[in-house]
Point group: C3
Chain length 351, copies 3
């Protein structure tokens, strides 16, 4: 961890998709800490430091025994509470002070969350409200990419959709996005960027979704949530149906949901997905849409990793911010203020 | 860039072969600075910092539009003068203070040159005089290698041809090279190493070139030119025809031309080629000779990269210099003096 | 080499198997020093710094000429005493002060040994007594692995066989090893860990070796020898035959012989083998057994390299020691004391 942390402590981060974390141990480094995740028989999730307290072999190489895990090296058996249950030599009395650090986890909105910071403050009510992932009447699916860049570069990317025209030319980009005015505002603990495109022809994807010809009103509303989520409300409604930026369930509507979990100062775990409230029973459409979205986000990964390398190769140059970057800039400011507010002794000790 | 620069500022370096730099952008790091090169429609060359002034994405990933380049990320359009021409959001007024650093370039002797240092001092008259690359009555061709070693190790290599016997055994090496006496002298801003082998049997290559049997006088004259070029005058003339070290256009004559452009402290761009003033219309011979020369220089690359690794693995050992190394030693001294003389504030700021 | 050396100076280390070191030069870094090894025509071994005194090219890239070696770069010829015999330019008088550092070597117990430290103290009598490798009535064979971990992690591994149950489940591991008591003691300059398993059923391997049914007494006696060898006395004897931990040539007996030579602070050369004093004429059994042992030690390599990575990824965590680790702990203490006792000016200069 760098001397100046680039992420917030005392916050929930996505550790994995609900489907990624299974009975077999999964190794993943979260905010600089190597962790192992697995499910108990009752399906609740265990999160521990991924290092046996004996000789530090990753516990993720170990074997499950009931709800416990036995280290692959010398067989120290660790319970789901992180406390030793059996010594390597069976005749040696168990020393229950032998334990591995555990982390507070929660499961919500299709993700497994882990609390980084002071565990006494871990309140599930603080989990970012990614409501479209689990709301009645909505269907949600997505994927995971490891991205070799500072997670805040991905926040920048998602809070400014102008890049779609250039990075995603040929898929979802279109010139109108460069032309429509945008409005950025801070809404409590959130940053919102709104773009309203009234009376345009729907692009092919949305025309297919709406299942009718004719002019539409189109919207893109990007919303940054601490510690590092972005939800983007997208869709079209027939012109004249009365849709507004504030109220637009008059047509077809989707919610892009992204969560960026720092792995190190210059790598992160990118969890992406799309929720929608139309044709929710069409599993084939869901799968096709996830594949298409995965292709688009793979283009972002290429660009962001090149950007990260360029930042390192040009150490005397600084990022600039234009009008389109206001959403990203305000999101970063919010992160910086939260870091100052929440950095704890635990964090400073690691730093 | 290391605290002690290993290369000269206020000098021209080869950025690429004339044929390498085309309308599509080419990324190449010159003297520690990531640059992008491309040609305008009038074929003149543009050189810029390879980082968009907006978010630092390499401009080399961008798309050309006329003589300008549009960044692949958010579409900032930069003119060939480095100044912004169009903002990502079309409605935002262009801020012409947004610009990327540009570099002075020139084209001469089949190479594109870039000036490193204070641009006010960039005088095309200072381009090293690689005259055989563009002289009437001569033909010239060659290639490019990326070599993972300090460029000065390649200078050493080229200023001492003794290594041919061992590194190029089986191709151009022959024992006579180890036996002939050499003379080293400083000639103004240049270092010269001369080897004269009178009355020997021509090696196969030169016999084929000369197209006759009988004893020949053979010469090798290595010449180092600041900042990092080596030209080697090689050839044979029939014994008795009157050739001397000073005047030897009595037989067949070639000029090996090499330019080493630093990329980093321990990597460089190696531009190599061969000019000759006989059979200059024989394109097949030119191509065969280039392929042969490329094979020989690939042997040097293997040796020099191993030498660089050995220097790092044996940090307490120093290079030694024997009589054969006098040419390389004097060339390095000339480089060191020029670094002291030319290091500018610009350079010190980067260091 | 780290500021605090992790290995002992003034000691013999295995440089290679007798069969590995041949007339062609072999490059191997021993205790941080790049070395080259080759045999003279009389089969005695030469060890030199693997860097030509001229321009540091690895001498291991050179060509043998008689007992000498000629550098591949400029042809400096070095005798087996490390002293220059011929200059690159033949007309230059040989300067016999030009020399490369040589190292004292010895050949014993099927290995080539090199002395690290003050050469005046290099006494062959100090070579670790790996007697089973060359004793009358015993047969010995084994192999070599490069392992990316601190050599002391391998010492830990070998001085505690509890890990067999988990790392080698399915091959040589069995639960009894976790259950049998162990005794650790220091025996002069050696550390000994003993495990006695009386009246058990022989595991398949030993039953096949013993060629009879019925209860056996089984033993495992691990012995650490400075600077970094472990020999493990293993075998079974029929119960009632009178075998004891002190005297057990009543059945079938093998000696696992391991030597760990540091390459760097976190990599080492692992020489492993097995000697036995039964069926010593059965070459097929010897070869099958070596292959089986190689598979087992490849499992250790996977675990140890993961352990090394985990140590780096969790810098604030420390290794713990339980009862099973007493052998490794005492061996490390012996190494640490010997480092303090033997660190010389030579060592401190490198550090």
């Amino acid at each position: 961890m760098a001397v100046e942390p680039t992420w917030i402590s005392n916050a929930w981060y996505v550790a994995g998709w609900d489907a990624e974390i299974d009975t077999a141990p999964l190794a993943r480094t979260i905010c600089g800490v190597p962790m192992v995740f697995y499910r108990r028989l009752d399906r609740s999730v265990v999160a521990m430091r991924d290092a046996c307290p004996h000789r530090l072999l990753p516990l993720s190489m170990g074997l499950r025994e009931g709800d416990s895990i036995r280290c692959k090296y010398h067989g120290l058996k660790i319970g789901p509470d992180g406390v030793a249950e059996e010594m390597p030599l069976k005749s040696e009395a168990v020393n229950r002070r032998i334990c591995v650090e555990t982390y507070v986890v929660a499961e919500k909105h299709r993700f497994v969350w882990v609390w980084i910071g002071d565990r006494a403050q871990a309140d599930p009510a603080l989990i970012p409200d990614l409501w479209p992932c689990s709301a009645e009447g909505w269907v949600f699916d997505g994927g995971y990419y490891h991205v070799a860049c500072d997670y805040r570069l991905m926040v920048d990317n998602l809070m400014d959709l102008t890049h779609e025209t250039h990075v995603h030319a040929g898929s979802i980009g279109q010139p109108e996005i460069m032309e429509a005015p945008i409005a950025t505002r801070v809404d409590g603990d959130e940053v919102v960027v709104e773009r309203w495109m009234p009376g345009i022809e729907a692009p092919p994807f949305w025309k297919e979704a709406l299942k009718r010809e004719g002019p539409v009103d189109r919207w893109q509303i990007c919303r940054f949530l601490l510690p590092s989520a972005v939800m983007i409300d997208v869709g079209v409604a027939p012109s004249g149906a009365g849709a507004t930026l504030a109220d637009h369930d008059h047509g077809v509507r989707g919610m892009v949901v992204d969560f960026m979990t720092p792995e190190s100062a210059d790598t992160h775990h990118y969890f992406w997905g799309m929720a929608r409230n139309f044709d929710i029973g069409d599993a084939g459409f869901t799968a096709r849409f996830k594949a298409q979205q995965g292709g688009v986000f793979a283009q972002d990964k290429v660009v962001l990793e090149a950007q990260q390398r360029a930042i390192k190769a040009n150490p005397e140059l600084k990022l600039s911010a234009y009008r389109i970057d206001e959403g990203g800039t305000r999101s970063r400011q919010m992160i910086t203020r939260a870091i100052k507010r929440t950095t704890t002794g635990f964090e400073r000790e690691l730093a």
